[in-house]
């Protein structure tokens, strides 16, 4: 499956000749720390869900290189139209852990006011567009935003994500087609993690690769080893640069693997071969990157302990703070449908509040 995919970090941890993107030590360490933090956050999220603390969780384990490597190629002024498996971008952009964790709880600290399920983040301050559940819708939106930037003469670049399943969606077809026709500055990253819930890649499309689909839209299609953060970064950087120069969109397929179940609602053991999972486990993107860093003298056990401990501490603290918070105010339910409440919504709100009031007075009684 990974044949012909760009790969940089070799078995011994060295970069393939002439391919090292030559990031500074500081940058490399930062990327590593964020990959670890993402993993730690994901572990915590699932545990919390299992304990009943939050209602749902969805991990990105195994895909840290794929999404963090690609996102790292973007400038802060660039925009993301993410799917739901790229939480590392938030850390890359410096979103406070509290904001992330409050979203899981949908509490009164959640910037999106508890409106969506856990992991459906929205952070306007860092150009991270609200995540949707319907698969693929972000793809044509990203193309449109890119067309908009082009019209306005901005040099913003847009990066959008979906999974292998997402390539079957209407918006994949429309988004790539429009981006191709208008040469919009957008990079489509498909994280091919081999599964769409229980449907394997082979049943998703008869195309040999997802990168091959680029030809249908007249844009370059690049296939990279999605567990190799340097390869993903390098391919993405080239695509982002091309986009910024007005040379149009790119489709990048990152070949990777969903190490966890689809989400906290799923049990992959029911449909997935353990051997396949084990084989991919050996290609863990964090371990792979570790080797590279170690070989460069940027990683040792001590550093690892420090990063792990700090990450866990931070996330645990954030969770503790989130747990102390309350739900959003009941009447907030009626806000943000429109900028201003319509008479109908106002009335429904008033009826609702009147009833809430009554309930407070006459506990559990329903006087007719």
């Amino acid at each position: 499956m990974t044949s012909k995919a760009l790969s940089i970090i070799e078995n011994d941890g060295r970069a393939a000749k002439g391919k090292d993107p030559n990031l500074s030590d500081e940058e490399l360490r930062r990327i590593y720390e964020i990959m670890v933090m993402t993993r730690v956050m994901d572990d915590k999220g699932l545990v919390l869900q299992r304990r009943g603390g939050i209602g749902f969780y969805l991990q990105s384990t195994g895909q840290e290189a794929s999404h963090i490597g690609s996102a790292y190629a973007m400038l802060d002024s660039d925009w993301f139209f993410p799917a739901y498996r790229q939480p590392g971008i938030l850390l890359l952009r410096g979103v406070p852990l509290d904001d992330i964790v409050n979203e899981w709880f949908g509490n009164d600290g959640d910037t999106s006011k508890g409106r969506q399920m856990p992991v459906h983040y929205s952070f306007r301050s860092v150009n991270f567009v609200s995540i949707s559940s319907p698969i693929g819708t972000q793809l044509s939106q990203a193309a449109g935003a890119a067309m908009g930037a082009q019209m306005r003469g901005d040099d913003t670049v847009f990066m959008t994500y979906c999974g292998d399943g997402g390539t079957s969606s209407n918006d994949f077809h429309a988004g790539l087609n429009f981006a191709g026709v208008y040469k919009a500055p957008v990079v489509f990253v498909v994280e091919n993690n081999q599964w769409a819930i229980s449907v394997p890649f082979q049943k998703q499309t008869a195309a040999e690769t997802i990168a091959a689909k680029a030809q249908a839209y007249g844009m370059p299609g690049i296939r990279v080893d999605g567990n190799d953060v340097l390869a993903v970064y390098r391919a993405s950087k080239e695509a982002v640069d091309r986009a910024r120069k007005g040379e149009g969109p790119t489709l990048i397929e990152t070949v990777t693997y969903r190490m966890g179940s689809h989400s906290s609602s799923d049990d992959a053991d029911r449909y997935r071969d353990k051997k396949e999972w084990e084989a991919w486990g050996k290609r863990d993107p964090i371990l792979r990157f570790q080797k590279y860093l170690q070989q460069k003298g940027l990683w040792d056990a001590e550093f690892e302990t420090e990063v792990q401990t700090r990450s866990k501490q931070e996330i645990n603290d954030a969770v503790k703070r989130a747990e102390l918070r309350s739900l959003p105010a009941p009447e907030s339910m009626f806000d943000d449908v429109f900028m201003n409440q319509t008479p109908q919504i106002k009335e429904q709100r008033e009826d609702f509040l009147a009833l809430e009031g009554e309930a407070d007075e006459a506990q559990g009684e329903f006087p007719l």
């Binding site: 509490n107 079957s168 969606s169 998703q204 339910m333």
Partner: protein, 324 residues
Amino acid sequence: MSTMTLLEAANKAMQHEMANDERVVVFGEDVGLKGGVFGTTQGLQNEFGDDRCFDTPLSECGILGTAVGMALYGLRPIAEIQFLDFIYPGFDQIVSEAAKMRYRSGGEYTCPMVIRSPYGGGIRGGHYHSQSSEAYFCHTPGLKVVIPSTPADTKGLLIASIRDEDPVMFLEPKRIYRTAKGEVPDGEHVVPLGKGRVVREGSDCTIVAYGAMVPLVEKAALEAEKQGKSMEIIDPRSLVPLDEELILESVKKTGRCVIVHEAPRTCGYGGEIAAIIAEKAIEYLEGPIARVTGFDTPFPYALENLYMPDVRRVMSGIAKTFNW
């Protein structure tokens, strides 16, 4: 008779019809080996092979388009849409194609197919795993719309839907998939489309409700009874075609009506019921027609419990029909 959940009854209905009619095929996302995200299609691939029960690529457009094609060719497809919220990428195939095929071809081509989908709130699914959009389909000529509220009805209505010669939207109230338990006839069991069910007889006020709202209004009726008001509950079971007679008869008897659904109020199915009564039985009314519905907002996550109609809101609706 066996006792089972609503979810199991849906499974049994499909199994019965797949055994009964080899034209029946079941497909959708994750319906095969996994048996569906709720488990509704569990065992079907095992029993009937992956020609008859199979997974599809992630495209509701493809699922529904291929279902229409199969139906045209003579099969009896059952297309599962994983959550009703995700049906829109294939909405065109439903409203422009399946619904109009018989009419536009002068009766030459037909689309006997069932689109099954879990709908409604109550499982902490937020925006996109909770919506009730039955009204869109009811407003589309050429579609039947069926919603069961008990295991027995689920089996009987789903079998009738599979045998129907026209496209049927079969919407399953996911909130009560496992909580609605009851006796279900073994083997052949058909509940005809277009016949409502009197869930409870009463004399002071009629409550019209369907799906997961039925057990809810039953609770409200008990509460009302404590306060000396006798509620009649009607579950239309199929919204299209509607058993208007049953509702009108009841309202003529009680003189009052409350309609309860989870969907947002504006242009919801409750409006249709109210309008029918206001047109055909207004002279019998002794109070305003009340609607107890979801609010005209998207479906929220954290405040789901406050968004959905509950006993308190149903009681308040009933109260409106008495005290105005």
